[in-house]
């Protein structure tokens, strides 16, 4: 098991546009064959999201992590964590990368859906960053990263 980073830059990440006004994924990670990834709550997420004109998405934008197992209906994401965009709008990536100002960026999982605060996704499972925003987020500039552990099966 190795410490790696769940990132929009990974080869198995698909970054796409959300539908304004509807909860939709902006990044989907399709766990590669023979691999399992484990994410735990309590770490600070790093995120930069902009509209196509470079301005910040509306403050009432909500983000969340969600998963989908094989054979789940295509739109059936199980949201395990949701957070506000506010701290990410006000802090630059450098400020986020430094450990300061982390409190409001810490990811907490829904205890009913993720009882022990950590979840393991096997290959063929998908994890997504979902957004519910009145604005459309520009996939070309979207950046997200969060610690994860990767193991080979």
């Amino acid at each position: 098991m190795t410490d790696e980073t769940l990132s929009t830059e990974l080869s198995y990440a698909t970054v796409e546009s959300n539908t304004a006004g509807e909860p939709t994924p902006v990044t989907t990670w399709n766990v590669p064959e023979g691999t399992a990834i484990k994410i735990a709550q309590g770490y600070a997420a790093i995120l930069d999201a902009e509209k196509a004109d470079g301005s910040n998405p509306a403050r009432n934008t909500k983000l969340g992590l969600a998963y989908r197992e094989p054979n789940d209906p295509l739109d059936a994401w199980t949201v395990i964590s949701d957070f506000s965009i506010s701290p990410f709008n006000t802090l630059s990536l450098k400020q986020q990368q430094s450990g300061e100002n982390a409190q409001r960026r810490r990811v907490r999982f829904d205890p009913e859906r993720v009882p022990k605060g950590r979840i393991t996704l096997e290959d063929a499972d998908e994890l997504a960053l979902v957004v519910n925003s009145p604005d459309q987020i520009d996939p070309a500039t979207l950046f997200f990263n969060y610690p994860m552990q990767v193991s080979q099966r």
Binding site: D3, T5, S7, E9, S11, K94, Q97, S98, E100, Q152
Partner: protein, 269 residues
């Protein structure tokens, strides 16, 4: 191998761009873009906790209109402002800056003359920025004898770079030692531990995972779906690499081949 090897003198060596061979890269696949080789008489080990710098560059091109003043060249992708490199927006028009511009001074189709604030194609002093990124530069052209091609080499904003070790024999087994996305590499700060932005050799590389026997390769493997590196180009002078390794001579009672076999056996592809 005998227990006495652990006591052999080792020194910390910083691998820089001059220690790597750079290779061409095409977006959409994972590819080795830089490779260094362990000398045949030495053993490298990752010194856990020491700061790493890996800032690869990509190239974008444009054209400045003949005789233009304040012509805005938009950067796509935007260029990260990197704390450990010169900052072009602060007047540091050097080849060590995180964004370096060149223009075609002799009309041979190759933008290879450094742009400063006093060249034929020059910075007018206006830069577009968005938080930690440069989004555009304004240029002047003073000759008025035709449009001029320009090229910019910027630290990568997209993609990720892994440090891998690779064996020298058949099979080419390789193992990832450290992986960070380009943003994390660019916005690290190796010289300021108090910023909490240092990227250091990860603790998992303690022990044999972090050992590179003689003739092993240390590769930098890059991936991005859309944007490539241009680290192999002659003008990619602002590639910034500083990877510390603890280097010791192979012991007299130690066989390079045996050490290679032992380490290879423990590598997971």
């Amino acid at each position: 191998m005998s227990a006495s090897n652990g006591a052999r003198p080792s020194k910390t060596v910083y691998l820089g761009p001059e220690d790597f061979d750079f290779k061409k890269y095409s977006p959409g696949t994972e590819g080795i873009v830089a490779s260094a080789k362990v000398p045949s008489t030495q053993v490298w080990k990752a010194p856990v906790g020491l700061p790493l710098v890996v800032a690869l560059t990509g190239k974008q091109t444009g054209t400045v209109t003949s005789g233009a003043t304040d012509e805005t060249i938009n950067l796509s992708p935007e260029a990260p402002l990197v704390d450990y490199m010169d900052d072009v927006t602060q007047g540091q028009h050097t080849t060590d800056a995180s964004l370096v511009g060149f223009f075609d001074s002799d009309d041979d189709g190759e933008p290879d003359t450094l742009i400063t604030d006093a060249t034929q194609v020059s910075y007018s002093g206006t830069y577009g920025t968005d938080n930690d990124f440069i989004t555009s530069v304004d240029l002047d052209e003073s000759d008025g004898a035709g449009d001029v091609d320009v090229a910019f080499h910027a630290i990568m904003r997209h993609g990720l770079t892994e440090i891998r070790k690779r064996n020298s024999g058949k099979g080419n087994t390789s193992q990832m030692l450290q992986s960070e996305d380009s943003i994390t590499w660019a916005f690290s700060n190796p010289d300021a531990p108090d910023t909490d932005r240092q990227v250091t050799w990860d603790g998992r590389n303690n022990g044999q995972r972090g050992v590179l026997p003689p003739k092993f390769h240390m590769d930098l493997v890059f991936y991005d779906e859309n944007f490539g590196t241009a680290v192999e180009e002659a003008n990619a002078k602002n590639v910034e690499i500083s990877i510390p390794v603890s280097q010791r001579p192979l012991g007299q009672d130690e066989s390079a081949a045996e050490l290679r076999r032992k380490i290879t056996a423990q590598m997971v592809a």
